[in-house]
């Protein structure tokens, strides 16, 4: 009970702070903020990314949208664990080798089956903010196994300058979150082509 309240208050404080700090300009370019089940996939350059993307979603959508976070980074330490588990309701993903006989995507598939939307960063790690890294294949398997879910490209502008890799204090600069046109895995589309197409759809939002 106390946990839930603390989590709710922290969530409010974080979204409020993120918005006040960055202006959090939200542009729904290719789709509206609807309650369709979706996988939001975005460029990744800062810890601020998913906080900002998550804050940019309207309240009811935010409640059922879960960020996918690196198990090795986020699921350690009391405070980080509190944030990722209680506040963001994150899903751990194992970035290091897979254990034999387990599917590393299983927690995400479970969450999708429960009706949640996901936020994922297919680059797998934080980039420099200038160029997109090649996408990892996880999103391909998610798209193949749960074909009814919409895939929405998202471009996060400027986050890497607000809080670059390795820094802990954010500088207040204006950021924007741009949502592109939803897509799905096409019939017979191969993995490399699909990943490249998705990467392009994120990069294409850059100067829209």
């Amino acid at each position: 009970m106390l946990d839930r309240m603390a989590a709710k208050m922290t969530a409010g404080a974080i979204t409020g702070f993120a918005k006040a700090l960055t202006g959090a300009q939200c542009q729904w370019v290719g789709c509206g903020p609807y309650e369709t089940q979706r996988i939001y996939f975005a460029n990744h350059s800062s810890h601020l990314d998913f906080i900002l993307l998550w804050s940019a979603l309207p309240g009811p959508l935010r409640k059922r949208t879960r960020p996918v976070a690196a198990a090795d980074y986020w699921f350690h330490g009391t405070f980080k664990q509190f944030l990722i588990r209680q506040v963001f309701n994150g899903i751990p993903v194992d970035r290091e080798g897979r254990k034999p006989g387990t599917n590393p995507l299983q927690p995400m598939l479970d969450a999708l089956d429960e009706g949640a939307s996901l936020i994922i960063f297919p680059e797998g790690t934080r980039g420099s903010g200038e160029e997109l890294l090649p996408f990892k294949s996880g999103i391909f398997h998610l798209a193949k196994d749960r074909p009814h879910v919409e895939l929405v490209p998202v471009w996060m502008e400027n986050c890497y300058r607000v809080m670059p890799k390795g820094s802990f204090l954010p500088v207040p600069l204006l950021c924007s979150v741009r949502f592109g046109e939803p897509t799905r895995l096409a019939e017979g589309e191969r993995k490399p082509a699909f990943l490249e197409r998705l990467q392009k759809s994120v990069a294409g939002l850059r100067c829209a």
Partner: protein, 318 residues
Amino acid sequence: MSGSRQGWIVFGGVIGILVLASLIGFAMSLRVRGKAPEDGSRRVVQNLNARIKAWWVMIFVLAGALMTGPKAVIILFGLISFAALREFLTLTPTRKADHFALLVSFFIVLPSQYGLVWTGWYGVFTIFIPVYVFLLLPAFTIISREATRNFLERTSETQWGLMICVYCISHVPGLQMLTIPNYDPAMLVVFLILVVQASDVLQYVWGKLAGKHKVAPDVSPSKTVEGFVGGVLSATALGTGLWWMTPFQPWQAALFSFLITMTGFLGGLVMSAIKRDRGVKDWGHLIEGHGGMLDRLDSVCFAAPIFFHLTRFFFSTT
């Protein structure tokens, strides 16, 4: 007349003008109602009405701060500086190595400058950013990381941001530091803002009504010779007519108003040039219809320090 009584008269006058503008805007919106959404004249009218609406908010916020007292004006302009600096630095390509310098700019330099206005420490207020911050900030960048690529460019951009958005803007509430016998210096804040903004608005109106020849087509497509001349003359006339709320004689008020409108105009041009260089139309989206904070304040940035120092030189006893 006492300062507060003059304040009420001005406030009443501004409200009257806004009511009139809102009525005109409403009448114009009726006239273009039947047109297609992407029609040029309809868009101009929509933008005009958004601007007028934003003016209502700005006037009430400013008047509220002025009525609360000098400290409230300082806090308000501190927040305005924050928004402006954020817009400015968002458009400059700083690198990771600048992170520390940026943190210092936002969380130490900006509050310190307004702290100096708060305490009225004039001697440090005028040199803190142009001397101390100017020299120390680049040093911070070197200490924090070695990245020297585009070093001069990056440091100058941060310094420009601090000068324009913090130093220059802080001269608006700084006017309250001046000591003029039997005069409430807060009224100088009202006078400055009124004349600068009237000049902007009147240039816009004259430009829309009679504008033909562009002043600087590469820099600002909306500034015309007709708008410039009409705006400067009519705003100077307005400022002269407001001499009773200043410590000036009418001819002095005319001279000051002319100076304010001219520096404001130049400020608008310079700030537009920076925007063009960065390839954007507006500084931000903070104020509906106007763009960002800096779009509304570009002329104030230039007019404020010059007005401050000339008034101080000729009229202040401290």
